[in-house]
Symmetry: D2
């Protein structure tokens, strides 16, 4: 398993900030920091808000009988998240084909969003890969044209 | 919904031990103990194993088109659970009617199931109440006769 | 613990709306609705945002060496929550004593916050009860004066 | 991000089966299958039971003031898990150095452990990477000699 590639600074600057949720007790573990699995919920939040911003929410894709289940994911933890952090969720589409979609994520805490934090820090880099399927049987199925066009127009340039 | 009544010792002794799972990091929070919501997963585990022991697992009820969603729940926390505790999940059926089922629970750690623990302790008392519904639309529907008979035979005598 | 009393309409109108999170896939189960335990996370969110609005966030209480663990909770489910619902979290303080705090909650979906929903609906009523403790050993300890005063001023009038 | 390498059949046969938990409602989502993030809990269960089998449980490492937080993880989903599946959790140590530990996992459902399933299927391949740290400040710290020796003796031969 290779590590999720360090995104170059230019690429990070192209990411879209989609939400700034706060860390709850529910997210922490007995080490006093965010439990590693708790971030997956925030990646889902980031992804669904990104899709909503394209103009066609995920519920429309569902209404057409499609799904985008996760086929692979990779997370690289840089620094521990803390209770009550206001996290900044940033996301980019790095690949769209008729049957595959890849999202890249960066979870950050910006200066001022944790008591005493004076510079921005990265908590996590991640990538999730999704297959487009027919919801009723999980069979691969090309994205509806409308969604393919909308998503393609949002792929991060390189 | 009344407070989960302190079960009298006789009643506790009538409860069935259905599983002895260990507390994971995933269950803990930054206070170093089991997060209060983590127990609900263990109550589900207790309930489903209890039903399996009747001879008809919950999946059979589902296959007939029924569901038993939670309509009410009450939890009373007695002492904190700790990481790696081997918990003892005990459960009893306290009420069965054609359209309602009530489960009572006790979560304990027995002497020897936590390092240095010399006597049994109670972590939690709880009750969940369930409605029998038709799965496809959530409408109340009497339990299938077979399930009603099986469950009725397991109601805790008083 | 008594059943979460049906709040009279006047009392509901005194509740404070503290957040409007959206339901994620992570919150749902195979019945296609919000899993009953998923709401506990939202109750925590409601509670912590309510406390923040008093002017002293929960992190300040922690910094003073105190905690407010849940000692009892009761939930009453009225209608199923659905994926992508924008929920309205409402909360009130129903009791504050030097060593105890009770919160009442109502989770609603307002007309327009679910596709096709034409009138407000209640998903859940709940109450959580908390003990004030010294964090390092879990011993009961009266609330710091500043917090007691701030919270007392926010108790719902009856 | 490269995909977790397909373990060769020989390597899979060297994995240790450490637990056979059943899928709960809590693990599923509205697609009717296991939510992708639910597996992380099972990977933790696999890892901690594997360590216990070495003779020194994770709690002993903690008692010495150490931790093994996840620094990277990668998951590759092969087929959907279903409610009430009895999953087989298999795990191997693929690398141990004084400051790093890598675990490889395979989650399977064996023939007979799902109604009507006639051959073994793979649900998931995964790898987690861990750093050995001093618990009180998260600083990298070499594994205690005893643990290093125990773990090293369990690294999968190639």
């Amino acid at each position: 398993m290779a590590k999720p590639k360090r995104l170059c600074p230019d690429l990070v600057s192209e990411m879209t900030t989609v939400a700034t949720p706060r860390v709850l007790f529910a997210d922490t573990d007995k080490m006093g920091i965010v439990y590693h699995a708790s971030y997956l919920r925030y990646l889902e939040m980031a992804r669904v808000e990104f899709i909503r911003q394209t103009g066609s929410p995920y519920t429309e894709l569902e209404a057409l009988g499609f799904g985008l289940p996760v086929s692979e994911l990779a997370l690289h933890y840089h620094a521990p998240g803390e209770y009550d952090d206001r996290m900044t969720l940033r996301v980019a589409l790095s690949l769209v084909s008729p049957v595959r979609v890849h999202f890249d994520y960066r979870v950050q805490v910006l200066a001022g969003d944790r008591r005493g934090l004076e510079r921005d820090i990265d908590l996590l880099s991640a990538q999730t890969r999704h297959a487009c399927v027919r919801a009723r049987d999980g069979r691969p199925q090309p994205l509806p044209d409308q969604f393919y066009a909308l998503l393609s127009s949002r792929v991060t340039s390189r």
